[in-house]
């Protein structure tokens, strides 16, 4: 380095602002070409050195191929000897087990035997295969251009412009049916509309899932958890959208000691004597939130551990959910049965941008949640 510094000293400049001075002191041309390390020396295998090992390897390969033959035969034997009996799950298990093991032996025997053969007995000498040049030779490149030119000339692709342009148009239109067909896979209904309304109507009784038996307020003791559906849902058949409606209207009903219940302003009339009802569909991605801890009054979602506090309008206290669970306003009828005051005032289920524009005008935000007011 010092020698280079002397050979190319920094030149003092008269005017440092106008002349750029390059320090060439460290400008040593370094070859960064990769040096070919070559192949490691050839190392003979044990089977190359010892004839008895070679014979042993040969026997092993033969053994694997024989095992494969045995596996094929065993698969047939297993299929006949261990048949699947109708209604007997154990026979299905045994049939699958023996059939699978035998077929695995048949296939793996060929594969492992072949690999063992190649590794131990076939030639082990290293071979170098040079890469060929990717650029073609000059005559072949000229020939290619000639072929294209000739093709154009003979087909008249350039000359017969009408044919050419209609062909381009036809090719351009081919993907259009796919666009229309795939577009139709999108939901027919606006997704926000689909989750904005559930079966709950003013006066509809809260009923037990799945029997549809109505629930009296007196039945809901402190510490209980009731899995609730609208009373009329129990009369809907599976072919008539039972599961679709249940996925919208499912509710969890619990009773909290009244002194522990903190209700949001405007929602005071939504509970009955400490009994509160919340949508069971998580506001994160829509899993059923039903893990209720009766001492802490926390509701836990099993999918991503979002935790809601039932005593405080189901506000989120942990996890990825961003909004409280929608609350179903409830009261009791003349006979003491719990009934809904009205439908949910906000779309149930997961949060996403569009749903913010579809909140009921009578909706009362649980805790001035920013996610709601942002709409």
């Amino acid at each position: 380095m010092s020698a280079d510094d002397q050979s190319a000293p920094r030149e003092p400049s008269v005017d440092d602002h106008s002349v750029v001075v390059f320090d060439r002191g460290a400008a040593i041309e370094q070859s960064d070409a990769f040096e070919n390390p070559g192949l490691p020396p050839h190392r003979p295998r044990q089977t190359d050195l010892h004839p008895h090992k070679e014979r042993r390897a040969e026997r092993q390969v033969v053994g694997w191929f024989l095992a494969s033959m045995l596996g094929s035969v065993l698969a047939i034997v297993a299929y006949i000897a261990v048949p699947i009996e109708h209604g007997n799950m154990t026979s299905v298990r045994l049939n699958n087990l023996f059939l699978g093991l035998a077929i695995a032996l048949a296939l793996l025997g060929i594969g492992i035997g072949g690999m063992h053969w190649a590794r131990q007995l076939m030639s082990s000498h290293e071979v170098v295969e040079e890469r060929h040049l990717s650029r073609g030779s000059v005559p072949s490149r000229e020939r290619a251009v000639e072929i294209f030119r000739l093709g154009d000339e003979e087909s008249g692709f350039t000359r017969r412009s009408l044919i050419r342009n209609t062909l381009i148009g036809a090719v351009a239109l081919v993907p259009l049916p796919a666009v229309v067909l795939f577009r139709d896979l999108a939901p027919a209904q606006d997704a926000v509309q689909a989750i904005s309304h559930t079966m709950w109507e003013p006066g509809m009784r809260l009923a037990l899932d799945p029997s549809g038996a109505p629930i009296k307020a007196a039945d809901v003791t402190i510490g209980s958890a009731f899995h609730v559906i609208p009373e009329e849902l129990a009369e809907i058949g599976h072919g008539e959208g039972y599961l679709d409606q249940k996925a919208l209207a499912a509710v969890l009903l619990v009773r909290v000691p009244t002194e522990r219940l903190k209700e949001a302003p405007g929602r005071e009339g939504w509970s009955y004597d400490g009994i509160v009802a919340y949508s069971k569909i998580c506001t994160h991605v829509g899993c059923p939130v039903a893990l209720y801890e009766q001492q802490t009054h926390h509701l836990l979602c099993p999918c991503h551990q979002s935790t809601f506090d039932v005593t405080e309008h189901a506000k989120v206290i942990f996890g990825p959910a961003k909004r409280p669970l929608p609350q179903l306003p409830i009261t009791v009828d003349d006979e003491g049965y719990l009934i809904a005051q009205r439908d949910f005032t906000e779309p149930i289920g997961p949060s996403y941008f569009e749903r913010l524009h579809n909140v009921d005008p009578e909706h009362i935000p649980a805790s001035g949640a920013e996610t709601e007011t942002r709409a």
Binding site: R45, R93, P210, K216, S224, A290, L291, E293
Partner: protein, 272 residues
């Protein structure tokens, strides 16, 4: 490579030597852990002296000896334990006869262990606690006998279990985690009376399922379903704890992908 003179034929370590060493180490560590765990869980012998019929008064004395330090001298509750007034004999039978009470130590939740008191002693405490205030009584025998349950009721029991229980206890009754160290225990091989009492009383953080929510015959159907699970092996063979994608995914990541990696290494290695 040539350290072992005894293996002079090849001068090489056996290819399975490191795998064997790892296996020996794991078995030793696992065995030691299991041995320590067994000692820690060993239960004191139950007292057989009081095996005769015990009165409510004996129950009160047993209560004061075993329970009062946390639940208060008159079951009024302290800051260490809730009041037991009105919890009923069913609650006492469940908590004492599954070994959860008397509690070994304060924690997120009481753990199941060998019962520390005899059935007679537990019944005596239950009778005394029930005398304080009305509460759920131990279930009648007719709701615990599942021998007459039809297949139809069994299917109803399975449906009720899926709706009311499976979100915490797992659809196969394998249990699951809750918050802050609490968990829903696995439900394999549980006594019918204890299943019934748990639904009726809602021990710890489990909700109560009273008879208006799940009727006694429905509770019996749920018990029948849980016992059906105990008696019927998984059709798929090895069920990996019935924990679903967690244990199955872990198995495939370790043994499935591990096997593929091992085969790939073997395929591309130079033979000796």
């Amino acid at each position: 490579m040539n350290t072992l003179a005894t293996r002079k034929k090849t001068g090489r370590r056996h290819p399975l030597a490191s795998a064997a060493l790892l296996l020996i180490g794991l078995v030793a560590a696992g065995g030691a852990s299991a041995a320590v765990g067994t000692v820690a869980n060993a239960s004191p012998a139950t007292d057989a002296v009081h095996a005769q019929a015990l009165t409510e008064q004996d129950g009160a004395e047993l209560y004061r000896a075993n329970c009062a330090s946390c639940h208060g001298m008159n079951a009024e509750g302290t800051e260490n334990g809730p009041s037991l007034i009105g919890v009923g004999a069913a609650s006492v039978d469940f908590q004492v006869m599954t070994g959860r009470m008397p509690m070994a130590f304060q924690g997120p939740q009481a753990l199941e262990r060998a019962p520390q008191l005899s059935q007679e002693q537990s019944d005596a405490i239950g009778a005394w606690v029930a005398s304080l205030a009305p509460g759920p009584d131990v279930p009648e025998e007719q709701w615990l006998d599942t021998s007459q349950v039809t297949e139809e009721e069994l299917a109803t029991g399975a449906e009720l279990f899926r709706i009311n229980c499976a979100m915490c206890h797992n659809v196969a009754g394998a249990g699951g985690a809750l918050t802050e160290g609490k968990f829903a225990p696995a439900l394999n091989d549980i006594d019918a009376a204890h299943i019934y009492e748990a639904m009726l009383t809602g021990p710890q953080n489990m909700p109560v399922f009273n008879d208006n929510n799940i009727a006694p015959e429905q509770k019996r159907a749920i018990i029948a379903y849980l016992h059906y699970l105990d008696e019927n092996p998984s059709p798929g063979g090895f069920n990996l704890g019935s924990l679903g994608p967690v244990s199955e995914g872990l198995f495939m990541w370790i043994f499935g992908l591990g096997g593929i990696v091992a085969i790939t290494v073997w395929l591309t290695s130079r033979p000796n």
